[in-house]
């Protein structure tokens, strides 16, 4: 259906720029490694730059940790574990975590601004979602610190020791919170490595940890690229590895850990189906599609990157989605009105663009919003593909960008089969006005998180994790405690 009754969203009344100010933040020119309670220079003397993906300007340079640095970080963590931390009363441990949560809340504006500068995500999201949710995770797990026996009745929960944690660039501070909060609450100490392109909020978190007065070495934050991560994973004195990132790297880690005593959780890729039935509230479903795929530029492992829509409403949904895309503002991440920020890095932009070419070569029809995008920095217009087949690579592979593949289905069984026909199983969405259909679908979609009539909602109390190639283990909620404990007796 190509409707000639078109709405016009260009021209007319425009929103003036409303940028968040950067006067209130400080970013040092250079950051060392946070080991044993202090920032120290890397053994190699090597540093690398972190840039603002919206402007390509250098924000700071950060230390590149070698395996010797990893070793001293693990030693510091072990010393802190053997020393004060594992012997401390659990309620005391909880107090420190509460303190981190409160300082994060107090400094929320600063963290949000730095998160958007370093990673390219819109300030609206870092301000309203990333930072508040990160604080909420610390609050939530702080409460568990002295109540662990109640989480596992009849068992004696024992901390593991040193946790090595490697986090991605899409939600830098939030992922650090997901990892550090439960680890500390369960009595472990940590060595955390933020992603190469987004180290700044993790380093700022190191300041918070110091200001909160945590004993030296309980939290160590070291920066570096893949080799640094590998050194953490392979270190003999690490008891637990927590990784969030690509399925490819996850496989390497799992292989490296096979046959060792280390516990691990892997949070990997996804290619979630967002299934829309004809009886759904269509306008709200369209919003759900937008939140599902365009949130954080689509750099979301649980993004609803496959839309599977019942054929009788497919034309209507696509038409409304196209109109809605015209109202999405792509641009300066610090502008409070920006809906879609910058792509995180040049290499990620290249990956996304290669999929855009691939999709067209595969015969799908590509549609992008017609709005202007900035000329410097890394940008991608919100994009949808129609006329795609299950066998197309843009349907099967994770693109990790604002790119949606749209398929149609006729019967519930067909929709379900399409939803499950993927090597991934991280998340899914179901949209229908009928409760029975929700239950039927949510029981049969093989994914860790399934949303009904909403999408991309997160809460510290809710576990998160994948099936199949989307990973192993659960983070968040009570389930998240189990990943950092050994249960005895």
């Amino acid at each position: 259906m190509d409707n000639q009754n078109k709405l016009a969203f260009d021209g007319g009344w425009q929103y003036a720029p409303a940028p968040e100010s950067t006067d209130h933040i400080t970013i040092d020119g250079q950051y060392g490694l946070f080991i044993g309670g202090d920032f120290v220079a890397p053994e190699s003397g090597k540093y690398f730059e972190s840039i603002n993906p919206a402007t390509e300007e250098v924000l700071s340079s950060v230390a590149s940790a070698s395996s010797a640095d990893v070793d001293s970080a693990v030693k510091a963590a072990r010393k802190a574990y053997n020393g004060p931390w594992s012997k401390m009363k659990a309620a005391e441990r909880g107090k420190y975590i509460y303190r981190i949560a409160r300082i994060l809340q107090e400094r929320a504006r600063e963290f949000a601004t730095i998160e958007s500068l370093d990673g390219g995500k819109p300030i609206r999201e870092s301000r309203d979602i990333d930072i508040p949710l990160a604080a909420a995770h610390f609050f939530y797990y702080a409460g568990w610190a002295d109540k662990l026996e109640y989480a596992f009745p009849g068992k004696r929960p024992v901390s593991l020791g040193v946790a090595g944690q490697i986090i991605p660039w899409n939600f830098p501070l939030l992922m650090a919170a997901w990892k550090i909060a439960p680890a500390l609450a369960c009595g472990n100490t940590v060595v955390l490595k933020p992603a190469e392109t987004t180290p700044l909020t993790a380093l700022k978190l190191a300041e918070v940890v110091r200001d909160a007065g945590l004993p030296d070495g309980v939290v160590n934050i070291i920066t570096g690229a893949g080799e640094t991560g590998a050194a953490i994973v392979n270190h003999d004195d690490v008891d637990k590895v927590a990784f969030t990132g690509s399925t490819g790297v996850g496989r390497i880690i799992q292989r490296a850990l096979a046959g060792t005593n280390k516990k691990y959780t892997l949070e990997l890729g996804g290619k979630a189906a967002n299934v829309i039935f004809a009886d759904a509230a269509i306008d709200q479903a369209v919003e759900g599609i937008v939140n599902g795929i365009f949130f954080n530029q689509g750099h979301v492992c649980c993004a609803g990157s496959r839309l599977i829509v019942q054929e009788s409403v497919a034309d209507e949904v696509v038409q409304k989605l196209k109109d809605r895309m015209e109202t999405l503002i792509v641009g300066d991440p610090l502008d409070k009105n920006t809906d879609i920020g910058a792509i995180n890095s040049a290499s990620q932009l290249e990956t996304i663009e290669s999929y855009l070419r691939l999709g067209q070569e595969e015969g799908a029809e590509m549609h992008q919003s017609s709005r202007d995008i900035p000329t410097t920095g890394y940008w991608c217009r919100p994009t949808i593909f129609t006329g795609v087949s299950q066998s197309n690579r843009i349907v099967q592979e994770e693109i990790f960008g604002p790119v949606l593949a749209i398929q149609t289905f006729r019967t519930l069984d067909e929709g379900l089969s399409k939803a499950n026909n993927t090597p991934y199983g991280l998340s899914g969405g179901v949209w229908t006005d009928k409760g029975s259909k929700i239950f039927k679908m949510t029981q049969k979609i093989r994914a860790g998180v399934i949303w009904a009539n909403t999408f991309n909602k997160f809460d510290p109390t809710s576990p998160f994790g994948g099936y199949k190639e989307s990973g192993v283990g659960r983070e968040g909620g009570m389930h998240g405690l189990g990943a950092y404990l050994r249960l005895e007796g």
Binding site: N5, G12, W13, Q14, D283
Partner: protein, 308 residues
């Protein structure tokens, strides 16, 4: 674009087929509009636009000719110390005051809108509603704001409500018809959506949320549902229908959020007084206060702005 043919109830669509509304999702989307930050020149432009879209309203039992005349003066001279202000779109009064308003407005291009059809309850026989409508039009009303029979609608007597709107539309002649759904009495957003569809098919030129006599009156979520109904009707028919939220919008800031919602739901074509109105009595002065602040950098007390 006013409908020239009066619809008959064979045009009444099957309202059970109207798209469902999910209240949680609507509230979320409505809240999102309020996170837009409208500053500087875009704010000033919005404030001017809001003034030009106001139906300056007085609908009190104690209204007098004097009060209505004064209100008309206010409509013409919003605040003469501020240069280049637009005038409001219309003055909205009871039928008995239409003549007074028409005279007071003289040659100014400000419409006179009259409520009719036993406003605000709508509890009168149809022939009286039609008679009242005709009287208001004869007195010079350019626009008629009618109320639907909520009782009939809630009982599922859709055909009856449809016919009544169509009959009032016919009685309006050249006058534009705004159909008040009184969403505060409809109970659910699903019913708001269905009533919107019904009213548009029956010939409404505008759909309007509320009389202002019932709480809640206009809200962002209710208005969003009606805008989405207008958009779907436009997709299907190509006919534009106007929107008028009324009651409860008394601050400039909130009115700007309504404009944001309008812009991002229906687009630019609707952003004129021809297609969008605010039904309000105290909104104008808050907008003026904001404009004064933009001009001088300081807020003035309410005493510096004429009430009517």
């Amino acid at each position: 674009m006013t409908l020239t043919v009066v619809p008959d109830s064979s045009l009444l669509p099957d309202l059970s087929k109207v798209s469902q509304v999910d209240e949680v999702g609507v509230n979320e989307r409505a809240a999102r509009f309020q996170t837009r930050s409208i500053k500087k020149e875009s704010k000033i432009e919005a404030l001017h636009m809001i003034l030009s879209m106001i139906d300056l309203t007085t609908l009190e039992g104690q209204d007098t000719s004097g009060k209505v005349s004064q209100l008309c003066q206010k409509a013409i001279h919003l605040h003469n110390t501020l240069p280049n202000l637009p005038h409001v779109a219309a003055v909205c009064v009871y039928p008995t005051m239409v003549g007074v308003a028409k005279k007071a407005l003289g040659d100014h291009k400000i419409n006179v809108a009259s409520v009719a059809t036993a406003f605000p309850s709508g509890m009168a026989p149809r022939h009286i509603k039609l008679e009242e409508t005709r009287l208001a039009v004869e007195e010079g009303a350019d626009e008629i704001d009618m109320v639907i029979s909520r009782g009939a609608f809630l009982q599922g007597e859709y055909g009856l409500v449809f016919d009544e709107i169509a009959a009032v539309k016919e009685a309006c002649g050249e006058a534009h018809l705004k159909v008040i759904l009184e969403t505060g009495e409809l109970g659910t957003l699903d019913r708001v959506r269905r009533a919107s569809v019904l009213a548009m098919h029956a010939g409404a030129d505008f759909i309007k949320t509320s009389t202002g006599k019932i709480q809640p009156a206009a809200t962002l979520p209710v208005t969003l549902v009606m805008l989405q109904a207008i958009r779907d009707y436009f997709y299907d028919t190509g006919r534009m229908v106007g929107m008028k939220p009324a009651g409860g919008i008394s601050t400039a800031k909130l009115a700007v959020h309504y404009l944001v919602m309008l812009r991002e739901t229906l687009g630019n074509a609707w952003m004129t007084p021809e297609w969008y109105r605010f039904g309000a009595s105290s909104l104008a002065n808050d907008v003026l206060m904001q404009l004064q602040k933009q001009a001088t950098g300081v807020y003035q007390s309410a005493d510096y702005f004429s009430k009517d």
